[in-house]
Amino acid sequence: MVMANVKDLVVGGRIVQAGNSEKFFTGDWRSFVPVVDQDKCIDCYTCWIYCPDNAVVFRDDKMSGFKLTHCKGCGICAKVCPKNAITMKEE
């Protein structure tokens, strides 16, 4: 671990750039990875709504997988999927 340089920090740890959590890769916390069965998936967006890290990717209204740089493997998507299309696999 290298500590942040104090000179680069905003007073009191305030975040002044909206949306910079994109730069914080929570994917390396993961021990379980979600795997989607596209045959069962109905592209209902339920997993996308529930994902706490915006790690479910949709393209043209089609569920196309997970952004593994940010998925921390919490398993909420698998739990909420109405079709049981997502399973958590140990990495």
């Binding site: 671990m1 290298v2 500590m3 942040a4 340089n5 104090v6 920090l9 905003v10 007073v11 009191g12 740890g13 305030r14 975040i15 002044v16 909206a18």
Partner: protein, 387 residues
């Protein structure tokens, strides 16, 4: 027009607040602070200030609200004492780490138990490691003056730390003294407008306050507070000077009395500084070369100024109105540390006095100083205790 009035310490703080007219005040009553917020609530009710006064259900809520309101961009004041400050404890380091420069008056009262409502510095000293700037007051005038000085130090762009204005419970909060008021327009000009850094309510520039830090950011942010505290030392000196030019009352990082040619120096905090000055007068009349000093600013710790005062002295006697049981009073090790840089170390003594409102008298102080001069004093004295 500047005038002299008769007023107690709590009302003097409330008066300073009325003249400053902060945006928000949230507080919960606790003796001996109650009069401050009671009086200030009266000013709010009478429309004498434009402050939003929020009645909260506890001190924990009071400080949480004040921290949030200061983050939002409002100049915010509060007051507490003793158990109230203890109840705020969880929020104290958060307020400091969030760099919200709010002002809090602390009417110093001991912390239970045994249950006791009288004065000592147990409350403030138990909160001293929370990252707040701390001012102490010798008398009612200083409680008032410190209340005016406080926002200037706290809100300085390079400081941005919360500040405690300490005044001794009952001895200052409830005693009526003669005090010189400062003109309200002068105060408004001196304190100036509050310019918050990245306030939450600046909706055009969205920001997030109070974020979580991993180890790579936590320590650097703590160091950022170290830098702010170092800056506060310079800023306090500038503000004291400017306040002196405005009012003729000049404060220093360490206020001193007859220290120049003294062989023995007593270090003391708060209202006992006056008692110690009277003691010095008596001892001087008897030919003993004594002086005394009080850190007017306690956090950041004015180490260099203290070292200068202690240079070449035979002995330094540190009077503490609190005790870390099993060790020493909180002032003592810090004074010793300040002296450690001197070529020759004076003999260092600690005196624990006045706990839970026990008498702090000229006679007691005088006897202790005489024992030090005679070489009879132990390293630590529990003044007045019979055991």
């Amino acid at each position: 027009m500047v005038q002299d009035i008769a007023i107690n310490g709590d009302n003097a703080v409330a008066l300073a607040w009325r003249q400053i007219d902060p945006d928000v005040c949230a507080a919960y009553p606790i003796t001996p602070q109650t009069i401050i917020v009671e009086k200030f609530a009266e000013y709010v009710a009478n429309g004498e200030v434009s402050t939003e006064f929020v009645c909260v259900e506890s001190e924990h809520s009071a400080l949480t609200l004040c921290t949030a309101s200061e983050s939002a961009g409002a100049r915010t004041f509060t007051a507490t004492a003793s158990q109230g400050l203890a109840y705020m404890w969880e929020m104290l380091p958060i307020t400091a780490a969030m760099r919200t420069p709010l002002v809090m008056a602390v009417a110093n009262r001991t912390v239970s138990g045994p249950i006791n409502i009288n004065n000592d510095h147990g409350d403030a000293m138990s909160a001293r490691d929370c990252g707040w700037v701390m001012l102490f007051s010798e008398n009612v005038q200083q409680a008032y003056d410190n209340s005016i000085i406080a926002p200037r130090i706290a809100e300085h762009p390079d400081v941005q730390l919360p500040i405690m204005v300490n005044l001794d419970g009952f001895i200052l909060t409830h005693a009526i003294e003669r005090m010189s008021m400062v003109d309200t327009n002068d105060i408004k000009k001196f304190v100036g407008e509050f310019r918050p850094l990245y306030p939450l309510l600046d909706v055009k520039h969205p920001v997030s306050h109070g974020n979580m830090d991993g180890p790579d950011f936590y320590y650097p942010h703590k160091y950022q507070s170290v830098m702010a505290m170092q800056k506060a030392l310079e800023v306090a000196e500038e503000v004291f000077k400017e306040f002196g030019e405005l009012t003729g009352r000049r404060y220093n990082l360490v206020d001193e009395y007859m220290c120049d040619d003294a062989e023995y120096v007593a270090i003391v905090l708060g209202s006992s500084f006056g008692t110690m000055k009277a003691t010095v007068n008596k001892l001087r009349a008897e030919g003993m070369k004594v002086g005394c000093a009080m850190p007017h600013l306690y956090r950041p710790w004015p180490e260099a100024a203290l070292a200068k005062i202690m240079k070449g002295k035979k002995a330094v006697v540190v009077f503490d109105k609190h005790l870390s049981i099993g060790a020493y009073g909180p002032l003592f090790p810090e004074v010793v540390t300040a002296a450690a840089d001197l070529d020759t170390l004076p003999k260092m003594y600690n005196v624990i006095y006045g706990l839970g409102g026990a008498d702090a008298t000229v006679a007691g102080f005088k006897k202790t100083m005489e024992e030090v001069a005679e070489g009879k004093a132990p390293k630590i004295t529990y003044l007045g205790v019979r055991a």
